[in-house]
Subunit: 290 residues, 2 copies
């Protein structure tokens, strides 16, 4: 199989329009008429992004939520989604979860495509379209030395939820099954931040990406990172699927409610990421491996 990085590197030679942001951001940003559109597409594959046999109501919810989370990282308001659906068993559950998520997040279903499957692993795709609430639209590439780094919520909650679901324990699995895109927070933060992204593939990996894209080094303060299980700190900051917002503010700006200051941005040193005294030489092992 082709390596993902190789494929995306090849795609970048095609995606040369500024709207594509070098395929390095959470979403495309396109000026149309007098508006700034924010566009994102996510795919979920059975056995890769969700458990075989998992309730399709949760899968549909999560498909909506992960797409809208990309919009939230751009401070965009959703105007609609398109669905790519592969038919199979339990589609009534899929419909139920889709309807719930779209109602809760006040997002219209605009259209899409429904196709036959082959009986093999199913996949579902969704495109979300939003309108920017603030321009310039936040990017992940504009964190500057001196900025302070913040994250919302708890990191690692989705990992604990996944384990509860996989193992059938009594612990709560909602954080994994039903993530909530932080749309209102994203809109409130967009005019304030120097850079912003959502934490989808693990806090460490996403910090690495923000620092790399910004040409800077992020210095994380391990004691300040709000993890769901301090005894499993290293796993929590690598697991992903939390869909919290990671952002930078100019030094000295008051911290927004619901966010924790977890580090600072410095001029680029040999490594783009430091956790306490540990400098990472490359991004191997920093994030999403599940």
């Amino acid at each position: 199989m082709t390596d993902e990085l190789d494929f995306i590197t090849a795609l970048r030679t095609i995606a040369t329009t500024p709207a594509a942001r070098g395929l390095e951001d959470d979403a495309a940003v396109l000026e149309v008429g007098g508006e700034t559109l924010v566009l994102t597409h996510d795919v979920m594959v059975e056995g890769v992004h969700f458990l075989p046999g998992q309730d399709l109501a949760d899968v549909a919810w999560k498909l909506v939520a992960t797409n809208l989370s990309d919009l939230s990282a751009k401070g965009a308001k959703p105007v609609g989604v398109l669905l790519g659906h592969m038919l199979g068993d339990d589609d009534a559950r899929f419909i139920k979860g889709l309807k719930e998520a779209l109602e809760v997040f006040e997002t219209p279903l605009l259209g899409g495509d429904t196709v036959a499957g082959t009986g093999a692993a199913r996949s579902f795709g969704m495109t979300a379209i939003g309108v920017a609430s603030h321009t310039p639209v936040p990017s992940r590439s504009s964190a500057a030395p001196g900025d302070e780094l913040y994250v919302t919520g708890q990191i690692g909650a989705a990992m604990l939820g996944f384990e509860a679901l996989r193992d059938g324990t009594a612990a709560c699995s909602l954080a994994y099954r039903r993530p909530v895109p932080l749309l209102e927070q994203g809109i409130a933060l967009a005019p304030l931040v120097t850079a912003m992204m959502d934490v989808s593939d693990g806090l460490l990996l996403d910090c690495w990406r923000m620092a790399s894209a910004s040409g800077a080094t992020i210095q994380l303060d391990p004691a300040a990172i709000p993890v769901a299980d301090p005894a499993r700190f290293d796993e929590c900051i690598r697991w992903g699927d939390d869909y919290q917002l990671l952002f930078t503010l100019p030094q000295g700006m008051a911290a927004p409610t619901g966010a924790q200051r977890i580090g600072t941005v410095a001029a680029r040193s040999p490594s783009p990421l430091r956790l306490g005294d540990t400098a990472f030489a490359d991004k191997t092992g920093l994030g999403y491996t599940h």
Copy 2:
């Protein structure tokens, strides 16, 4: 597996925004700022929409072409696409075909998602975003009694191309492998037509759909339908994948170049579709079964 019609019927209870056009059209039509966006999403599954082992350069081209064909049926000019790509073998060929199609049709790649596969049948999704060149944007539901029905090009050419490819004969398979979306024709026709759609699932089935959506009956003249192989007329008009434009004009309007008048629109009789003296009671067997 859920029946496709049942699933779409359930989706319609969610897709209540006017922009979704009741999920009965080729694309969604959304007003944003001062522009009218046209949005469509298509999925292609290995073994369903393309042959296992088929050159992925052709698959990527066709993924672009089928999406842009939906835009052409709305008279929209493409502003970009998002790609949902499942990694696997021969992705360099996929990149090659994608690049060729996007260059030929002058459409930017905006972004998307790249995911791991499971080794099972691969699927690819694409969302195309266009801007309407004419409002109101043509629909398939506004053919009126007295209108004349036209189609561009040759019907059944994709079927012959598919057979050439499947059987490895010397006949040309381009019509199946590399369909061409009729973007310029769609833009030229948009101000003239009363209804328009692309022929993706077979001429007969798509005529049935236009007539049903319009609350009218379409009377086809079999002798006038331009088929690729007259000896296999019945198959040509049912096979699909031709991506020609099917449209209606007010009675007496001069026929555009490159289009053939193939029938008329009448007030609704018991059947929405008649081919010569044959009235079809339902749409079973009218189209796409490959």
